[in-house]
């Protein structure tokens, strides 16, 4: 078994897990269970990133998404004490609209991707595989602080604004 094979197995495993987790996320009744399945899905996505050689994004996905955002979600779920809501109807009555929309969307995108595999309409040319340096973090950092320095700063301002907004909104006496 070569590393490539392992990486393939890992990809299909993680892909399956991600999709399964996502399905359960939107279908289970209990919000906390839903959050747990979302975490599973996100972790599996992190695994997919690893198979793509994006190690830094893998770490960021776990630290920020799983360790940060999802903790926040669970924290809020506990704060708002949803036991009462559990006994209420969990799904609204626009399921068929959603289904239809999803079907249309899926067929469109699937069609596009399917044809992209070969010589199709979307036509993704063969990539320049293997040119990404294994020193992912260095590469990432250089690009981030040279080419994307301004967006990076804007993102940090956005975070600050969100932070202040969240604090102001949840304050007891506004």
């Amino acid at each position: 078994m070569t590393p490539t094979q392992i990486s393939q197995i890992a990809f299909y495993f993680f892909a399956g897990l991600a999709v399964l987790g996502a399905i359960l996320t939107v279908t289970v009744r209990n919000v906390v269970h839903s959050a747990i399945f979302l975490i599973t899905s996100l972790l599996a996505t992190a695994g997919i990133f690893l198979t793509l050689g994006a190690q830094f994004v893998f770490a960021v996905q776990i630290i920020l998404y799983v360790g940060g955002i999802m903790v926040l979600f669970i924290f809020v779920i506990m704060l708002v004490n949803l036991d009462v809501a559990l006994h209420q109807l969990q799904f609204n009555r626009q399921g068929w609209v959603a289904g239809l929309l999803a079907l249309v969307l899926a067929s469109q995108l699937g069609f596009a991707i399917w044809f992209a595999r070969g010589e199709g309409s979307l036509d993704i040319p063969a990539g320049r595989t293997g040119a990404l340096s294994p020193q992912n973090v260095e590469q990432f950092g250089l690009a981030l602080f040279e080419k994307y320095a301004l967006p990076f700063e804007i993102a940090s301002v956005l975070l600050l604004v969100a932070l202040i907004g969240a604090v102001v909104m949840t304050k007891k006496r506004v």
């Binding site: 209990n30 190690q55 776990i62 506990m78 992912n136 973090v137």
Partner: protein
Amino acid sequence: MSALLEFLKTYMWPLIFALVIVGVLPLLAGYVVLMERKVMADMQARLGPMRVGPHGLLQPIADALKLLIKEDIIPENADKLVFWFAPVISVTAAMLAYSALAIGPFFQIAELNIGLLFIVAVSSMGIFGIILGGWASNSHYSLLGALRSTAQMISYETAAGLALVGGVLLAGTLSTQKIVQAQQGGTWFVFVAPIGFFLYLVASIAETNRAPFDLPEAESELVAGYMTEYSGFRWAVYFLAEYANMIVVASIATTLFLGGWLRPFGSIAALDFLDFFPPLCFLGVAGYCFYRTPKQPEPIQSGVMALFGGLCLLLAAAMALPFVPAFAASKAGVHGAFWFLLKVSLYIYSFMWIRFTFPRFRFDQLMKLGWYFMIPLSIVNVLGLGVYKVLRQLQWSRWPAFLLTTGGTLLVAIWLVWLAQRKVAVPGPVGDMTEAEG
């Protein structure tokens, strides 16, 4: 079949190390508990466990057995699945973190490009075990413990992460191997970034939920916090996760600040006699064991004591192996592991010392310490180390650069303390602290 063989061949050493860690870690954690009890007893004018085995040496095994065969109670209204699963998450996260730790130049499961980041990422997932366990118990004490620990971990992870950034800045890499190698020729980073080390020490105590920051499980307030409803094996798993986490943070600190597996004063040839310390250390322990062997009250205890002595002799022999010219190459690995573990033990010992000396913080004070002192200071620390690095690149010599940056950071620290002091002066019921975590 051949594919499997090839797989095993490629990944033999990582697999062996992983198995060793999974197998040894629970035992190690048990002995850390024993050590903690013994240290505590010594500081409190007592003897500690003395009954099981000579000087209580078999106590961890007895404890583990007891916990395994205890009744496993699941509260009636608990969310059974999550309740069952939560401790496993905790312990998995703690154990996964070991995969990137370099115990010596040789003993490492996986040398990762993002080593330190990986450890931080994976161990940050342990919090789910706590928060889900607390929620699934369906008890108010557990819930409060879970909420507390979430807020605490998020707050202190920021400070710990920024403290690590300081060290990483100096090393210029995230790989654990290369971080240690960066300290090889020069000084350990603790001497370059003492404030960063201090910040990480405090934050790591908070992250592992140890006194004086053990609020999530403060026994006098929340009974046992998120673990209140847990018993038997599951409880033991939580405990294992906690102690495993302690070893992880100690290992991170050792790697990043204390020179990892490097011998103290490794660059000074005049102190090379320190190489004799590892075998002599084990020889001394073995000698003590044999000295105490005839004094044990029961023959079986004498036997166990002698066994321990023998074990130490064996280890001493292993430590002496590099002095045989034929095996000289093993020196880095064997002695490296010794020094690494010694530093980890000392770090954990400082945890214990702090635990038995200080009272516990209150939750709002903990948050204040985190947000008003630790995080600002850690940001300033990163800035200071950045300035240090630039100064070094500008051909400044070490001392002026060090004094300037660390001195500046220290001044900021004093200013922050002064600010906090001024606020504390007003007595009366504490202000609203629920907003602190926003």
